[in-house]
């Protein structure tokens, strides 16, 4: 993590279609997030936030622009990394709207899967998983079947999964949408803790009013353009 910037994008644009019926989902988006920082990406539906997340997550190719991850240029009017899958595996963590845990693996293996995919031996991967589960206070459910876990427990495990390969950046897509305010704030507190502890940049896409006040910095996105704002930065107890 050089330059004190975990992820940096400049002039990112994404056009769908050709000619007269083309849609510009992203128009010259600029964004920068530092390691350990939790920023919010806020906007209504249709504003392009999903498209931006997909570009940041290296699942969609932008049309134009520049993306840097931990100082390394990954996109400059064309992908500069040969294997995007490896990029996603090792350097980007994902937290989805729903936990999306693999139902036929237990809690530990859901988290340990990522280090295993990266080639780590099973024992090491499981040790790392247990470490994360402990940090997230769900270690007592390490052997549990996913179907037996509560929503909150599942979400914490999915957060552990996102952290499993120590990625420099985590993309969180509406992580608090189904939760009540107490739980939502608890999630945000955990994310803040993890971000600081592992020095991971976390970009949280949300339109949940309950948690917006917790961000120190916000990017508002509207019609494909982003505007940086200062957030309230309220402490979570």
């Amino acid at each position: 993590m050089d330059n004190g910037v975990a992820i940096h994008i400049e002039g990112l644009s994404k056009r769908y279609g050709e000619g007269a019926s083309a849609i510009d989902a992203l128009k010259e988006v600029n964004m920068s997030v530092a390691p350990g920082e939790v920023v919010g990406l806020i906007g209504p539906s249709g504003s392009g936030k999903t498209t931006l997340l997909k570009c940041l997550g290296a699942v969609t190719e932008p049309t134009r622009g520049r993306m840097t991850l931990g100082g390394e240029v990954i996109y400059d009017n064309g992908w500069k990394i040969s294997d995007l899958r490896v990029l996603r595996r090792d350097r980007i963590g994902f937290i989805f709207q729903a936990p999306y845990l693999i139902p036929f693996l237990d809690a530990t293996d859901n988290v340990a899967l990522l280090p295993m995919l990266a080639g780590r031996p099973n024992t090491e991967a499981r040790a790392r998983a247990l470490e994360l589960l402990t940090a997230l206070e769900v270690a007592h459910r390490a052997q549990a079947e996913i179907s037996e876990l509560s929503g909150g427990e599942q979400q914490r495990i999915s957060i552990a999964r996102a952290l499993a390969n120590q990625p420099p950046v985590i993309l969180a897509d509406e992580p608090t949408a189904p939760l009540d305010s107490e739980r939502a704030l608890a999630v945000m507190r955990i994310l803040g803790q993890m971000a600081r502890q592992y020095q991971t940049a976390i970009i949280v896409v949300t339109h949940d009013e309950k948690i917006i006040p917790t961000f120190k910095r916000i990017y508002r996105i509207r019609d494909g353009r982003t505007v940086e704002e200062a957030g309230e930065g309220r402490e979570i107890t």
Binding site: D106, L130, T134, A139, H140, R141, A142, Q143, A144, E145, E148
Partner: protein, 401 residues
Amino acid sequence: MTISFMKIHLALTRKVWFAVFGVALLLAFGWVATTSGPLAPIKVIVTQVVKGEVAPALFGIGTVEAQRAYLIGPLVAGRVKRVLVDVGDTVKAGQLLAEMDPVDLDKRVASTAAAVARGRSAVAAAEAQVSDAKSHREFASVEAVRALELGRSGANSQSEVDGKVQLRQSADAQLAAAEAGLAAARRDLSRLEADLGGAEQQREILRLSAPVDGVVTARDAEPGSTVVAGQAVLQLMDPASVWVTVRLDQGRSAGLRVGLSADITLRSDSRKPFAGKVARVEPISDSVTEERVAKVAFEHLPPDASVGEMADVTLRLPTVGDALIVPNASVRHRGVQVGVWVRAEGKLRFAPVKTGAEGLDGTTQILEGLRVGEEVIVYSERDLKDDSRIKVVTSLGGNEK
């Protein structure tokens, strides 16, 4: 880090169940592979060679026949006039059974009898003539003698004497002629009497009578039908002479001889066999059916036996004692060789054997090739080879329905 005991238990249970199922499946697969199909060993039943008795017997089927049966019929062609008995009647020797139509034979007898009567009168007439000629000659003889005397004394002329002598000679001749005529009439009478006798005998022949006591078995011609010489009008049999003609396969008739005791089972009453004995072994066998023929007599005649009825006859041969015996199911062929499969030291061996007597119950005597106590294969599910794997059981598919 607390780990719930319940969670581990459930996870283990699932794995355990799966493992149990997997192992059960593999075991079932293994069991199926080794006990069925071509890989499985052949199931066999064994027994030991022992010493015992063999009760050999000969078996054949026979027909009940009458030893003495008679065809009653005319000696010449004719028409049947009447039949006096019917099938099943018991008759005595000499009894009149049937009569042929005499046609004109009666009239011929009458005419011949009349001719005989006439012949008798002709003889009587010839006899009268002879006595007349005799008396005539007597007289002529006396006259002739007197004439000769008178001639010598000169009273008669020579011509008178010659005349009387000549009369005597002619009276002699007449007597001879009359005697000859009598002889002829007598011979004629004999001839006519013989004719009459012949005609009467012919008449007798048309009467058919029973030659012996017996039972009528067939009535082949009704009154009015024409039969030829030799054709039977009635058939008779002597019921005391009923016996069984038995046919035995040539290949299985060793030991057949007169005097063997027999069990005869009639087709009409199979529960109670009759005792009998071989009365005769036919010197000529049937080469077409390859059978030998024997006649078996009943010890006590069955009351209701019918000629032509089928019978099963078992002839008992002398028992063979102290023989090595095996069940005949264990005797098999390998190619042309006859032998028995022996199990020795866990291996199979085909032992060629020579068999001796065989009982009707399947006990077979072994003359060569086996020893007492050897274990032989009696029954097997499949054909055996030298390298077959076998498994000894106590019962095979034959005992299940």
